[in-house]
Structure formats: C-alpha cells, structure tokens
Amino acid sequence: MNKWRKINNILHRDFGYFFAGLTIIYAISGIAVNHINSWNPNYIIERKTFNLTYSELNTKNIISILKTLNINETKYKVLQTDVNLTQIFLKDKTISINTKTKKIFYESVKKRAVFHAFNKLHLNHIKGFWTYFADFYAFVLILLSVTGFFVLKGKKGLKWRGTILGIAGLIIPVIFIFIF
C-alpha cells in the first residue's frame, strides 16, 4: 500500500471513529429541525382551554382556579398583562385568564430532554468554544468525504464506483437548486 494511501486510510478511520457520536447527534437533530413546521423539536407544549366561571378575579378565585387545574405550587406570579388579560406564571406553566371572553388558557411546557440537548449542540446555542469545535468538526467532515474516495483503489474506488456514486450524489442537490 502506498504511504499516502495508508495515511489517508488512517485519517479516514480514526476521524470517523472519533466523530461517529457527534455525527449521529447532528443527524438526529438535523431530522428534528428539518420538520420544525410540523412539530416543536425542543418542547412538548400542552394547551387547554377552560371557561371562567367567576365574575371577578381576586386572590381567592385565583387559588381556586389553580386548584381546579390540579396545580399545587405555591410560588407563582400574577400579572395583569393587558386590559382584559391576567396571567399567572408558574414554573413551566402559564395560565392566561381573559375576563372579557371568560376563557382560561392553560399552557404547560416540557423540555424534550434528548432533542433539546442535541439541538443545543447542532444549532450552536452554546457559542464560545463550541463554535470552534463545531468548525473543526465541519472541516473534518470535508476531510472524511475526500479521504473516503481514496480508501479503496481500482474499480471499487475512484476508477468506477467512487466516481459514479460521487457524481450521482452531487447531481441530486444540483437539480434541487435549479428547480426550486
């Protein structure tokens, strides 16, 4: 085996092993955020609407509303956020009471533990050092693509299979660029 091919294969193998986990994380997050219009990839949001039976809002009624909604938390913040809107903020929950329409809107938010963490990395919410590490990873992905062509020689390499599949894989995004 040529010396340069040996180095090529070592780089391809070892970087491939090293970044296998991150590639899976980015791929899962990629699928999740690809469908952001049809689902929320970060949070599970539950919304419910109830009728307001009280004619006025006071502390007693607010406590009673919380009890009706099976909320036992004692730490909350009540704020009149608009002329007819009073909102109760609890940890991961919001209750909006519209005194004009006599409706109570309940919203609870739960983090999608795995997806939230993966998206945090993939979309670089962390910033700082992660930006440079992610840049390095992107560079390594280019390296993996290029070295991949030279792992095997002959017909299973660039002489036939590598060239045909490589060009075919490039044609698809090019077609999409020109059509859409």
Partner: protein, 168 residues
C-alpha cells in the same frame, strides 16, 4: 469672566434638570451585578426607557438603541427568536426580535423579568381586523380607495434585540 460665569451658571442649571420619568437611571455596575441568564451582547446603556414611552412616541425612538425592562409574557417556542415583554403599565407591551440563532430565548424565561437592549424598528403589517377593499377600475382616482387600502396597513414597533439579561 462674565462669559465664564454665565457658562458655569448654565451648566449648573442644566445639571439640575430633573430626570424624565421615562428615563430610569441605573446605578453604576447595577447591570453588571444582575444575576440571571445573559444572552447576546453585553448591555451598554445606563438608563432604561419605558415601553409605553416608546409606543407613545415611536418616531422619536426609531433606529435608536434603547434599554427596556419588563416581564416576559410570551416567546417563540420553536426557535426562541422573539419574546414579548410587558412593562408596569397595563397594555404596555413590545416584541423583542432577534436574529435566528444569534440569541435564543429559552421558554423558562416566561414570567421572569428581563432587561433587553436593542434598536427600535417598525414594520407594516396587514390589519387582520379589516377586510381589504378591492380597488377595481370602477374606482376613479382620488376616490380614496388607495387610502382605505393603506388604512389596512398597520405599523407595529418592535426592538431588534442585541443583548438581554433574564433575571433569576
């Protein structure tokens, strides 16, 4: 000498001008000592502007950098790319828009107090409460149809956020 005395007197009187209600001065290092989630750029302004003041005189603040304080009442749950804050006056509400991915507001910010720095800007949106009148050929020029169409366009004011602190 006379000039210097007048100048000194002017400077003295200027320094005695009361601070406007809309401009709430923040003590030195107060922002730096705030405990909470810091997002985006560091806050640089030393005084906050009331949201109601911006909404009352938007033209005065357009393209100007402001620091506002309020309670977060709603957020973009998918991308964290905007949040709405309310001030102390009822109905005092403004949306903070940030560039996607540059700042991501977490859902946990809801109900918390926040300081936000950014530039005031306006956008024209179609007023959903009105039906757009059709300006066909039967409408002669000057019939006011175009104005009616224009009336359906509502200007809303937002802040292009560059930095924020969500207080604990």
């Amino acid at each position: 000498m006379k000039f210097i005395i007048i100048l000194m007197l002017t400077l003295f009187l200027a320094s005695c001008t009361p601070v406007k209600d809309s401009d709430i001065l923040i003590k030195k290092n107060e922002i730096a000592n705030l405990k909470g989630l810091k997002l985006g750029a560091k806050l640089t302004l030393k005084k906050t502007t009331k949201i109601s003041e911006i909404l009352k005189n938007p033209n005065k603040f357009i393209n100007k950098k402001v620091l506002v304080k309020g309670t977060v009442t709603s957020l973009c749950s998918r991308r964290g790319c905007w949040m709405e804050i309310v001030g102390t006056e009822v109905g005092e509400r403004i949306r903070i828009k940030v560039r996607d991915g540059v700042i991501v507001f977490p859902m946990s910010a809801k109900g918390k107090d926040a300081y936000v720095e950014g530039t005031v800007f306006s956008i024209n949106v179609r007023n959903r409460n009105h039906k757009k009148p059709a300006c066909g050929q039967e409408h002669k020029e000057g019939s006011g149809c175009e104005q009616k169409v224009a009336a359906n366009i509502k200007t809303i004011y937002q802040i292009q956020g560059i930095g924020a602190i969500i207080l604990d």
